[in-house]
């Protein structure tokens, strides 16, 4: 088991980073977030040309047969760019839910011809997988009920709906099913999904807790990417910005905060790598308990150390703060993961 990056992963990273630098600078993300947040042209290139959509799908089902480790590197880069593409929601969460069924839909997702979303609240977790959902299935296999806080639903061609241990696919989505709500995360808005006797196809069995745990482990890498951008951007700023006739980065009050933040990010990298190398419940809980907070702290420090400009809409740091804060809630809060660790590593609470 290695916590380092392989050469193949570094090549994949370079390809994704180059594309995002060209097509998805923070200014471009900022321009589109209020009209059409998701960049489906960019997604087409990422999914089709670089092939990220099929990373987790085995070759015999039309994918690249890679591992969570490669997907994690893609997420680091997407986090650094707060890239508004449905990689985590379609290529990680929905794909992971489908994998045990080996459904033919996997091939379409892998090639990027279709995009799916798991109709589960982004605030649900491996510990509370049904949070925010009340969907039932009738005798004719039709779905009724509501799921709040679904990420990636508005750009999905297929909704995958877990109901009582089974996975259903809604492949023709009527406009009234998905209602986007104003969301704290501008670059990954959530929607309320409502089914009313909606026809669906049963795809197979679904261990939703396992799917959400897998997603949480990978989300730690996206959070690492968010934190890295915040740290690097702030470092560049404090070297440039002069007050009292000195770069503000020469003041110890600022240097020490950034040294501490760097140390937090170093440890977030180790935690993220460990969560994909090992993928046990403990490793995932550790990575989420640490990285979610580090991403939020990095974004908050970035905002504060940018001073006045950091509070403005025109500076992209708020996109990262909003992503980090929403991601902290997503797939279990740090407190949820620490609570799980209490029993996982035998540190029980008061009796």
């Amino acid at each position: 088991m290695s916590l380092l990056y392989s050469d193949v992963e570094e090549e994949l990273r370079a390809a994704v980073r180059a594309l995002l630098a060209d097509r998805c600078p923070p200014s471009a993300v900022l321009r589109r977030v209020e009209s059409e947040p998701y960049d489906l042209d960019l997604w087409k290139t990422l999914a089709g040309e670089i092939g990220v959509a099929g990373l987790l799908v085995p070759e015999e089902l039309g994918g690249a047969g890679a591992s969570a480790s490669e997907a994690a590197v893609v997420l680091e880069e997407l986090g650094r760019a707060v890239a508004p593409v449905p990689f985590l929601t379609s290529s990680v969460l929905a794909t992971r839910a489908l994998l045990p069924t080996r459904d033919a839909l996997l091939g379409e997702l892998a090639e990027g011809r279709k995009t799916a979303a798991l109709a589960v609240s982004f605030a649900a977790s491996a510990y509370r997988p049904d949070r925010g959902a009340s969907v039932s299935v009738d005798g004719e296999g039709r779905l009724s009920g509501t799921v709040t806080g679904v990420a990636g639903a508005e750009v999905a061609d297929v909704l995958l709906v877990p109901v009582d241990g089974d996975l259903y696919a809604v492949e023709s989505i009527e406009p009234e099913v998905v209602r986007v709500v104003p969301s704290i995360d501008l670059t990954r808005p959530v929607a309320e999904v409502t089914f009313a006797r909606t026809p669906a196809r049963r795809v197979g069995a679904c261990d939703l807790a396992a799917v959400l745990r897998f997603g949480a482990g990978l989300l730690a890498s996206e959070q690492l990417g968010v934190a890295e951008w915040c740290l690097e951007t702030t470092l560049a700023y404090v070297k440039e910005r002069h007050q009292f006739a000195r770069p503000i980065g020469s003041f110890q009050a600022i240097k020490h905060r950034l040294a501490d933040l760097w140390l937090d990010v170093v440890r977030a990298r180790a935690a993220a790598r460990n969560a994909v190398a090992d993928a046990s419940s403990i490793s995932v809980a550790v990575a989420q308990a640490w990285n979610a907070g580090v991403a939020v702290h990095a974004a908050e420090e970035a905002l504060q150390l940018h001073g006045g400009i950091g509070m403005t809409w025109e500076h992209p740091v708020h996109l990262y703060l909003k992503r980090a804060k929403a991601a902290e809630v997503a797939l279990g809060t740090p407190g949820d993961h620490r609570e799980a660790l209490a029993s996982l590593v035998d540190v029980p609470g008061p009796e």
Binding site: L4, P247, S250, K255, A259, W262, R267, A271, G349
Partner: protein
């Protein structure tokens, strides 16, 4: 040299030397066989092998006589790498073997009452007198000076140049006339540290390590190794100081509270990600691509130790202390004795080997590339600095 070859060497060594015989004789033979520190050159206790193979040797020899790492810590962790990097062939041959076997204990004469974080401003003088140097000054916070045969010493040889440029590095004979060691009582009640007074101490020029005036550069090697030595995170999950806290926690359910539980879980996570960073760092070193992570390890170690030992006091509702008697410590001990001792001893972790504030400066300037504070003392001759 690979793992299989190292194992062969160890097996051959064990077939000729009985580990249940005389301890010192066994350690001396181990040194001569190149199995002391395999990454050192042949003839100096090593085989010129990759450093990561050392763990193979340690595993294979786990049931044989071991070094006293508490007492020998400064020799092994700081003096040895400095002697290896800057010593003459003669110095390496003279000092490394008894240093490693523990026949000669080392201490470190760096800090002074007027030079702590600003080590380069130190005032202990070394004046040349023919083939000798005459040392006068006072050093402080000297762990183990009362056991030491030798010391690594930084002294000022030229007060007329800016502070960093006028220093020279020596090996100090702790048995020489004029060396006086006085115990320095710490907040734990005992004296792990000392004050060392140097009055007209004469050191021959062959005890100089590196060139005259190059002491700062030589000292950097020592300090870098010191931080790695102090901050080496435990390699086992829940190890180090966490182990004693967890043992108490599991043993005494009646003492648990919700508040302590939340804090302990947070610290457990922080200890675990710090351990993982250490593992990642070791992997980088083995792969020959050392990252800058090392400079942060000691900072994390100090913070965690202090928080955990403080939490353990609260958890046990501890109002007693095992022993305030003023006495000499046998060695440096972070984890031993009672919770009160551990709490108080941990306070030193953010001071010894570079304060946490200085480490943050080092990280921000050398790793993050941030500009330094304006320096008024950089180009001023040392003798003209305000004191």
């Amino acid at each position: 040299m690979n793992e299989a070859q190292i194992k062969e060497r160890v097996a051959a060594f064990l077939s000729e030397h009985d580990p249940s015989g005389d301890r010192l004789e066994f350690l001396r033979a181990r040194f001569d066989a190149g199995l002391a520190w395999v990454w050192f050159p042949e003839g100096l206790g090593g085989l010129g092998a990759p450093r990561e193979l050392q763990q193979v040797v340690e595993r294979e020899l786990a049931d044989t006589p071991q070094l006293n790492s508490g007492l020998q810590g400064i020799g092994l962790g700081m003096a040895a790498p400095t002697i290896l990097a800057f010593g003459t062939e003669e110095q390496k041959r003279r000092f490394l073997k008894p240093l490693w076997t523990g026949e000669e204990i080392w201490c470190q004469l760096f800090s002074e009452p007027g030079a702590g974080s600003d080590l380069a401003t130190l005032a202990t003088r070394a004046v040349r007198d023919g083939d000798e140097w005459v040392i006068d000054g006072q050093k402080v916070w000297t762990s183990g000076a009362h056991h030491a045969r030798w010391a690594i010493l930084v002294a000022r040889t030229d007060p007329d140049v800016p502070k960093h440029r006028g220093l020279t590095y020596f090996v100090c004979d702790m048995h020489a006339p004029g060396v006086e060691v006085r115990p320095l009582r710490q907040i734990t009640g005992e004296a792990e540290f000392n004050e060392v007074f140097l009055t007209g101490v004469r050191l021959s020029d062959d005890l100089r390590l590196g060139a005259v005036g190059d002491g700062w550069r030589v000292a950097q090697t020592t300090l870098m190794n010191e931080r790695v030595a102090i901050g080496g995170a435990p390699s086992r999950r829940g190890g180090g100081v966490m182990a004693s806290v967890l043992a108490a926690w599991r043993e005494h359910p009646e003492l648990r509270t919700h508040d302590l539980h939340q804090r302990l879980l947070s610290l457990w996570v922080e200890a675990e990600v710090t351990r993982l960073s250490g593992a990642r760092l070791r992997e980088q070193l083995a792969a020959g691509q050392p990252g800058p992570e090392g400079s942060g390890m000691k900072l994390s170690f100090a913070k965690l130790n202090q928080a955990l030992t403080g939490l353990e006091m609260e958890f046990r509702r501890e109002l007693t202390y095992d022993d305030w008697t003023f006495r000499r410590s046998e060695n440096v001990d972070f984890y031993g004795r009672g919770p009160g001792y551990r709490y108080l001893r941990a306070k030193g972790n953010s001071i010894e080997g570079g304060t946490s504030e200085i480490l943050r400066n080092i990280i921000s300037e050398r790793v993050l590339g941030l500009p330094s504070e304006p320096r008024v003392d950089k180009d001023v001759p040392w003798k003209d600095l305000p004191r």
